[in-house]
């Protein structure tokens, strides 16, 4: 009797598990096209990149193509331009991210008040981010920063600045400034969303308890904003590490190699010198470096994302 009962229970469990499996298979269907698409377009090419990186392969001389082992990797690490480009990439990512975050926080705090024309202000402040980066680069390069006719020199004239060649004298600063200008609105949007999600009652309570504005900002607002700042840094870095448009348009990586970052150097190697093998090795190095950084970043983002909305769906 008990044996029969337990065996029917077992059978029920087995069929439940089978139903579960079937259900899961069914649920996988809508996911598959998108997954397949992304795998084919992003993952397969990466494997090919690894393959090319082990070859001596120049598109100008396709007949000399041969297996080269790790030669490309040795070449890029002995290449001083590559090392410069690595350092430049770090500088031209970190500087605009941190600057735009700081300025963005300042502007977000200003906009989080009752101020006349708030909607219009918001519309205006997001515009630099929406402007096509290639267009922004041109407008800055010529109308703003030109030695002779640029607005910046005109505005700074009373302060003793005389026809400064910003782009060639301060190339990194120029690129940083343009990127900061474009990315500040992004930080404003994220931080503003953070500020507006502060629970009003808690702030009220702090005021009632006699905390002053600075104390509230330091011990309540800033901790509350922390995840938003982290998100801004992570996302900003993901995009800015690939900065290409402004560098291509404004400095072409120069003068010398002063603004050559990895994307720009890769562009020169692959699309100017047609050295597929070496460019691929660079690509692999960049991806490995990114995976390391992204693992840290993912931990941050995964904190922003919880199972809350998933309750009762599994």
């Amino acid at each position: 009797m008990t044996a029969i009962a337990s065996s029917t229970a077992g059978a029920a469990a087995v069929s439940a598990r089978a139903r579960d499996r079937r259900r899961n298979r069914l649920h996988r269907i809508p996911l598959l096209p998108a997954l397949l698409f992304v795998v084919v377009v992003t993952q397969v090419p990466f494997l090919l990149t690894v393959y090319y990186s082990l070859e001596s392969y120049n598109l100008y001389h396709p007949d000399t193509r041969h297996f080269a082992g790790l030669q490309n990797y040795r070449a890029i690490f002995e290449d001083s331009i590559f090392r410069t480009a690595l350092v430049n990439t770090v500088i031209l990512t970190a500087a605009p991210v941190l600057l735009s975050l700081t300025i963005g926080l300042f502007i977000a705090l200003l906009l989080d008040r009752k101020v006349f024309g708030r909607g219009l202000l918001r519309t205006l402040i997001i515009s630099p981010f929406l402007v096509m980066p290639a267009a922004a680069a041109l407008v800055w390069k010529f109308t703003m920063l030109d030695t002779q006719f640029g607005l910046i020199n005109f505005i700074l004239q009373p302060f003793g600045v005389d026809h400064t060649d910003w782009i060639n004298s301060y190339p990194k600063t120029t690129i940083t400034a343009v990127l900061t200008w474009q990315w500040t609105p992004f930080m404003v949007l994220i931080l503003l969303a953070g500020l507006q999600s502060q629970p009003a009652e808690v702030l009220e309570a702090a005021k009632v308890d006699g905390a002053n504005g600075w104390q509230i900002f330091r011990s309540m607002t800033l901790p509350h904003l922390r995840p938003y700042m982290e998100l801004g840094i992570v996302l900003g870095a993901i995009y800015l590490v690939q900065a290409f448009d402004a560098i291509f348009m404004i400095t072409s990586g120069g003068p010398g190699q002063q603004t050559t970052n990895i994307p720009y150097y890769l562009y020169e190697t692959a699309f100017r010198a047609f050295d597929i093998g070496r460019a691929s090795a660079m690509g692999v190095v960049v991806v490995v470096a990114t995976i390391i950084i992204a693992t840290l970043a993912l931990r941050t983002i995964s904190g922003l994302f919880s199972d809350e909305g998933m309750k009762g769906r599994l």
Partner: protein, 294 residues
């Protein structure tokens, strides 16, 4: 950090340091000073955009001058000639971005559904796989794509950019749409199921109406990213599939003489995205943060 703390804006709040009794009259003064400062800072940031649009209305002789001309008699000449120069590029851009955006939505909506309403067991892995492809730099994939496109004579073909932009935007769209789908209360879906609504019926009468604003916002975000994309467009197209950013490259060295034309062209290039961005303003932050911030 839970999603709920990120998502519930409590807007009924006066901000800024509120005074103790001693300073009851000060807030209005500091308030208006801060208001003025806000306007100044925002206008400072907006100014280059304004200057670009204005310079497009100048004659070339008024465009590059020392000192710069703030008053001038406007002309439409530059916008007209830029529009005719850029016409082919604009057409390519519209075709490529619209096609890729539609493709993104067609692929992302079912995927988002499979990661929220009817989740697979490993939904979390799939979700993070999508986002991780967004973090991999294009440097890791561009070279084989270029070589392949060359060998298959696909350089300068619109289809290549359509496919690449779709892959570029797909992770964002999946995350964003998922965040909208999660807002549909489970009870409503359950009720529809109990009432015997078929899958298609559920889709048509419950999910689609709720998700429409989300779909529109997602489409606008994808459109913005695809429209502004530069690296792939410059390297994979020359004339037949060249998009608007490629048109702008022709101004890269045109120092001095053609600033008005340049600014008119740049303004035209930016206009669609500015309009889309202003329209999607409320959802912009959600798209940019891939649904994490609402």
């Amino acid at each position: 950090m839970s999603a709920s703390t990120l998502t519930r804006p409590t807007r009924a709040r006066k901000t800024g340091p509120r005074p103790t009794r001693r300073r009851t009259r000060l807030p209005s003064l500091t308030g208006s000073l801060l208001g003025l400062l806000t306007w100044l800072v925002v206008l400072l940031f907006f100014f280059p955009v304004l200057w670009m649009v204005l310079t497009g209305f100048k004659e070339e002789t008024d465009a590059a001058t020392d000192p710069p001309k703030f008053a001038f008699s406007p002309t439409l000449a530059q916008y007209r000639s830029a529009a005719s120069d850029a016409q082919a590029y604009l057409t390519h851009s519209v075709t490529i971005t619209v096609t890729s955006t539609l493709l993104v939505l067609a692929l992302a909506l079912p995927a988002a559904y499979g990661l929220s309403i009817a989740p697979v067991r490993k939904w979390r892995d799939a979700l993070f796989f999508f986002i991780s492809t967004k973090m991999l730099p294009i440097a890791g994939a561009i070279i084989p794509i270029y070589v392949l496109a060359r060998n298959l004579h696909l350089i300068d073909k619109q289809i290549v950019l359509v496919i690449l932009y779709t892959a570029m935007n797909l992770p964002i769209a999946v995350w964003m749409l998922r965040s909208f789908l999660l807002e549909i209360p489970v009870e409503i879906l359950e009720a529809a199921r109990v009432d015997g609504a078929s899958f298609l019926r559920q889709l048509r009468s419950v999910i689609v109406p709720v998700i429409t604003p989300g779909l529109a916002a997602t489409a606008l975000i994808c459109f913005i990213f695809a429209w502004n994309e530069f690296f792939l467009a410059v390297n994979l197209t020359t004339t037949n599939a060249a998009t608007v950013p490629v048109y702008l490259v022709s101004f890269q060295t045109g120092e001095g003489q053609f600033w008005a034309r340049l600014c008119a062209g740049a303004s035209l290039a930016c206009l669609p995205v500015l309009l889309a961005g202003w329209a999607a303003q409320d959802k912009l932050v959600r798209g940019l943060s891939m649904g994490a911030v609402k």
